[in-house]
Amino acid sequence: MGVDLSPQNIKELMARFGQQLKEARTRDDLELMKRDWVSKEGFVKELFKGLRDVPAEEKPTVAALLNELRVAVEEGIESRERALRSEALQAQLSSEYLDVSLPEAATGLGSIHPISVVEDRITEVLRPFGFQSVMGPEIETSYYCFDSLNIPKHHPARDLQDTFYTETGHVLRTHSTSVQARILQHRAIFENCRLPVKVASYGRSYRNEKEDASHTAMFHQYELVWVEPGLTLAHLLGLITHILKELYGKRRKVRFTPRFYPYTEPSVGPQIDCSVCRGEGCPSCGGAGWVTIGGSGMIHPNVLREFKLDPEKVSGFAFGLGTSRLAGQLYNLPHLRAVYENDLRILKEIV
């Protein structure tokens, strides 16, 4: 039986399609419509097959109508499909809910200790000057800790450095200056006093003290030694000022006071205005408004001589900055112990 390709029928089909599309409420309804209308066996294909029986003069008109029908069917189904998908998505989204105000599940980032932060920053500041960073032993001989550094056995300066002695007769280094002695000795014995010496070293030092809010038996220092002809006190002050300004910002005040260290001459104590009271005076700075953050000086001629260097030809300077103090000042910690208390509630937050 031939298909009815009369314009009337095609228009009726179009109207029927429109009605069915309106009634399609689900994806299944739409799948059925697709099968009936656009599959290989669907109405549209069947109508097109009938086109070959249409007289030639009517073909253009009928074909145009059929194309119109096909486009309407395809677009109608596609559009309805989109609408249904959108409705379904909307329904799904409106039914789903999670309370995002509940706490997150995370390991959270850890943190780097304030002392390490200070050490890293100073190392970075010093890098353009060509400093080599080295480590040294914490258990030392008294030669490296005292004797080679112009601290004779019964000098009152040894009082400054209440020393831990081990059962083997060694000492726990009282300052990182012992690394300076090792480096200078190494250069003297194994490297024919090669110059310049530009070495930085940092780590723990120990003093045999009773612990309280402002004293710990262990503390950290950042040691630097630079030996080269022509270095002056002004260079030393310049480098320390540069480091402190880089650490704390240009507005932070820096000053220098005379000190005594047997291994340096002149000896200098760098100070910064207290971060807690901004120089007004408070318990953490002993009311002075200033905090001494280490010791420094031009290397004593006796120390240079000890390591086969001629003080008439070369000079050098060294400093040992108290990294624990620097860290305390960087993070406004009211007392030194806070740096070593390892309270994770503080350590996680301050860095």
């Binding site: 706490p103 997150e104 599940a105 390991t107 959270g108 980032l109 850890g110 943190s111 780097i112 200790h113 390490s116 890098r127 353009p128 000057f129 060509g130 080599q132 960073s133 080295v134 032993p137 914490e138 258990i139 001989t141 004779p152 019964h154 009152p156 009082d159 209440d162 081990t166 059962e167 194994f190 530009k198 723990r204 045999n208 003290e209 009773k210 038996a217 262990m218 950290h220 270095l231 006190l233 002004a234 002050l237 310049g238 480098l239 000022t241 000053r255 220098f256 005379p258 005594f260 047997p262 002149p266 005076g281 009311g287 002075a288 200033w290 070593y340 390892n342 994770l344 509630r345 350590l347």
Partner: protein
């Protein structure tokens, strides 16, 4: 040193120092700037301002008001008004003979004085002394003169001295009863002041009861001397005593300060001061001085140009330099005018202990012009930037790996107590027994150097859990210490970086409580926590560019059944696991603590950097295989075999399930083996062949069976 501002005002014009603003007075600022650090402030309308100064250990001359005035004078260029002294002491000698039998006493003087019965201390002296009413007036005046001029002196009751007074070294340990009423043993080799029968004083340290001045004393012998600083120090230390006198002598006194001090004393104690009635005044009877070596006339020469360069003050005038140095007590002569003026500088006798060469003069000049006037100058930059050392490189990897996993860096002490040593000794017979003891710790909590960080980190976690930290995860890059089997030589030698005699660098890390933060979340199981902990280690090892694996280990401070060695490629670099219950108990933490300790030196050596991985664009194919694994066997062993099997296309192997049915005596562990070829898509039969080969190998070499 206690600095009485009113006394200082008598010597020199000083910057303002009001009682109400003593803490921030211009004088205090000046003192700090001069290196006379103010450590304490007392201020009252009655006594004015008293500063407690911390003086420099090489500057005995700073322990007097005149010494402080000299420093101020060099800075402000104000003149010092030296305190008045008696014009002439006496032509007569004291009634006792003095014998100086050791060169450790450079000079010794005894001044004999009569003491009136009603001797009273003048108020203008008493106000500068602490509790003068407890002392005989003559002793108070000695103390005053020491505070003023720096010369320690001592008074003997002349009637208690028998025969010649000698200054000599002790040939054996001696017992003395000192002025403080305590008995002391004085070591052999100490300088002693003796009469014919007894020890009168331990030179420079303290006098003895047997010759003490009392209310009934009518005649005194005033001792003023110059003693060897080291000798005084050794004796005072051995006696466990530090007196004002020993403190001053140890730091070096003016070797020519004896007579001026005695003259000052005679002035104040005698009628010369004008306020004491003659009947209340002490009178000099005679004086005997035993001189030793002649005071050295030391000279130092300094080129003005070098001084200017040091201070970076090119316009520093010669006249300014000379004036400041003279105010410090130096005598200065300039060489004839020329291109580079040299100053010949004679060192004053009170500075012979610390001024030896031109650097000391640089220091004095820097202090007197102020270090803060020195113009800082940045030294030259260097274009050969040194690379970071191996520990620094390692630290970067560690920080990235561990802070990324939520670990917080901590710093723990290098030591612990004997209790911890005893705890670890219970657990170990090996290296951890080789603790190095500290001989002289002031506190029991630091008696030994630590051989492992497990106790310190466990204790730290315990404290933080008690503080309410839910997920406590910490790490530390530090040192542990141990006595080697053979004592190494201290002779200098060429060393590798990080090669030390008694210590080595370790990375230690620990975790307790939860892994993830958040109270609302279910805590991780022991097994899950262990895996997360191990994952952090794996991240670290991968970060240094090595393959990570774990195998059996026998660390004494970890739970014997929950621990493993950490392997970096083929090298065992450390251990990890659950902390031994005994350590946990000692550290007062009830829950499990996870701990790992790695050899940082070895890690640093193995660190090769992580190259960019070679990846394939062709599809990956995987196969799962479930094998029977013994309950206490390690699945990691099988995994390692798979990794090391020589199959070209094998790209990854992992455990994806570990399951044990309650009724079975084995675990079912599922391994996922992934194959991927770099240049083509693998065929199914190739993959099957590889899997067969792998399973055959496992069955023959490891005697494993497929799970039913």
């Amino acid at each position: 040193m206690r600095l009485y501002v009113r006394l200082l005002e008598k010597l020199i014009e000083i910057p303002e120092c009001q009682v109400a603003a003593a803490s921030h007075s211009p004088l205090r600022v000046l003192l700090d700037d001069l290196g006379l650090e103010v450590k304490g402030v007392e201020a009252s309308p009655e006594r004015g301002v008293i500063y407690t100064l911390e003086t420099l250990a090489n500057r005995g001359d700073h322990l007097s008001h005149v010494g402080v005035a000299r420093e101020i004078s060099a800075r402000t260029l104000a003149h010092i008004k030296m305190p008045p002294v008696a014009g002439q002491l006496s032509d007569r000698k004291a009634s006792v003979l003095v014998r100086r039998a050791t060169d450790k006493c450079m000079r010794y003087a005894l001044m004999e004085m009569s003491i009136p019965t009603g001797m009273a201390l003048r108020n203008d002296i008493a106000c500068f002394l602490e509790e003068p009413e407890k002392l005989h007036p003559i002793v108070s005046i000695l103390n005053y003169v020491q505070a003023e001029m720096g010369q320690p002196m001592h008074a003997f009751d002349a009637d208690k001295v028998e025969g010649e007074v000698s200054v000599e070294l002790s040939s054996k340990p001696e017992q003395v009863e000192a002025l403080d009423g305590k008995a002391y043993t004085v070591p052999e080799g100490s300088i002693l002041i003796r009469d014919r029968k007894k020890i009168l004083a331990v030179a420079g340290v303290i006098g003895c009861q047997n010759s003490m001045v009392t209310g009934g004393t009518r005649k005194v012998l005033i001792e003023a001397a110059s003693f060897d600083p080291v000798s005084v120090r050794i004796t005072a230390r051995a006696m466990g005593l530090s007196t004002d006198a020993s403190y001053a002598f140890e730091r070096g006194c003016d070797v020519e300060g004896l007579l001026p001090a005695l003259k000052r004393l005679a002035y104040l104690a005698g009628g010369s001061a004008g306020t004491a009635k003659d009947t209340e005044a002490a009178h000099v009877i005679g004086i005997t001085v035993a001189d030793g070596t002649v005071t050295e006339k030391r000279k130092v020469s300094v080129a003005l140009s070098a001084l200017r360069r040091q201070l970076n003050l090119p316009r520093l005038e010669e006249v300014e330099v000379v004036t400041r140095l003279k105010n410090l007590g130096y005598q200065v002569e300039a060489s004839p005018a020329g291109k580079d003026r040299e100053l010949q500088i004679a060192v004053p006798p009170w500075r012979l202990w610390d001024v030896r060469d031109r650097d000391d003069i640089y220091e004095d000049m820097a202090r007197s012009v102020s270090l803060n006037r020195v113009r800082p100058e940045l030294p030259p930059l260097d274009y050969e930037t040194a690379p970071p050392n191996s520990i620094e490189k390692l630290q970067r990897v560690i920080r990235t790996a561990l802070t990324g996993s939520g670990f917080v860096e901590v710093i723990t002490p290098g030591y612990y107590s004997a209790a911890e040593v005893s705890l670890l000794n219970q657990l170990s017979t090996g290296i951890h027994k080789r603790h190095m003891a500290l001989k002289n710790s002031l506190e029991a909590k630091y008696s030994h150097m630590k051989t492992t960080n497990v106790v310190n980190l466990t204790r730290l976690l315990s404290a933080n859990r008690k503080r309410g930290v839910l997920a406590a995860k910490v790490y530390e890059v530090g040192r542990v210490f141990c006595l080697p089997e053979e004592m190494p030589s201290d002779e200098p030698r060429e060393r590798d970086e990080l090669d030390y005699n008694f210590e080595h660098d370790v990375v230690s890390f620990a975790s307790a409580g939860r892994w993830f933060e958040g109270e609302w979340r279910k805590p991780e199981s022991l097994e899950e926590h262990l895996r997360l902990f191990k994952g952090a280690i794996a991240g670290l090892i991968k970060g240094i560019g090595c393959a990570f694996s774990a195998s059996k280990s026998e660390s004494p401070f970890l739970h014997p059944g929950i621990q493993g060695s950490v392997k970096c490629g083929r090298h065992v670099v450390g251990v990890f696991g659950v902390v031994h219950p005994l350590i946990r108990e000692a550290c007062e933490i009830k829950e499990e603590v996870f701990y790992g300790e790695l050899d940082a030196r070895l890690l640093a050596k193995l660190m090769i950097g992580v190259p960019a991985p070679e990846v394939s664009d062709f599809p990956a194919v995987w196969r799962d295989v479930t094998l029977k694994v013994g309950v206490k066997d390690q699945a990691g062993r099988i995994l390692r075999f798979i990794h090391e099997a020589s199959i070209d296309s094998l790209s990854e192997a992992a455990v994806v399930d570990d399951f044990r049915k309650p009724e079975e005596e084995f675990r079912r562990v599922t391994f996922r083996v992934t194959f991927q070829h770099r240049e083509r898509t693998l065929r199914g039969e190739e993959v099957e062949a590889s899997m067969h080969s792998l399973i055959d190998g496992l069955m023959s070499k490891h005697e494993v069976e497929m799970a039913p």
